[in-house]
Symmetry: C2
């Protein structure tokens, strides 16, 4: 179970390197990927690797933060696609054999702060 | 350092109970709260408690998931405000004395899936 953090680190390094063989090697054959914001679900290693391989744009990522327990890991990653920047938060669950079996991704977007809290919050 | 997970669990239970004394007790006096999506920052326990106490609406929360290391914790919480539902992802850092010193919150919103990946993704 303790290998999951390393698997997740290899997952992101392989994605950035477009090394799809190394990327696939971090995944369970029956990996399930979900995006709660769009309610999309992708099942299986082959489809999920293809989803990443086909993802459009010259995207690059850096890992901002990793929080890991033996069986689950969360990452905060920062993506750039040309001038565009975005953050992703990903929850990973392991299969007990050091591979990733479940990934749940969130892609929060910028928004304007609601009025009425300017007395408490500053902008940065 | 090992108390941070418990502090975070008390933080969410106290928020749901509107027990602002218990809530404040989980926080460092110089706690810093940031919202990267709006680039808002709130400094200090008093202001941050007030921000939560004044937050409008009859909101309720349940904790969906906790991932904890000794010095940092991530939670995925689900909020309801009447018929509205939303998820929050919160990164917590501890002050080494069992209190929360940094909180970074993300509030991802639903969006329509981009076209061109219907051959890989199903909707749920």
């Amino acid at each position: 179970m303790t290998d999951l953090r390393k698997a997740v680190e290899r997952f992101w390094a392989a994605a950035e390197a477009r090394d799809w063989a190394a990327f696939a090697d971090t995944l369970s054959e029956d990996v399930v990927y979900t995006l709660p914001q769009t309610r999309e679900l992708i099942s299986g290693r082959e489809r999920y690797v293809r989803f990443n391989r086909e993802y459009p744009g010259d995207w690059h990522l850096r890992v901002e933060r990793v929080v890991a327990e033996p069986g689950q890991v969360v990452t905060w990653t920062h993506f750039t696609v040309g001038p565009e920047e975005m953050d992703a938060i990903s929850f990973f669950t392991g299969d007990g054999a050091g591979r990733i079996s479940v990934i749940t991704d969130f892609w929060p977007e910028p928004y304007e702060p609601p009025v009425g809290r300017e007395h408490l919050a500053e902008r940065y």
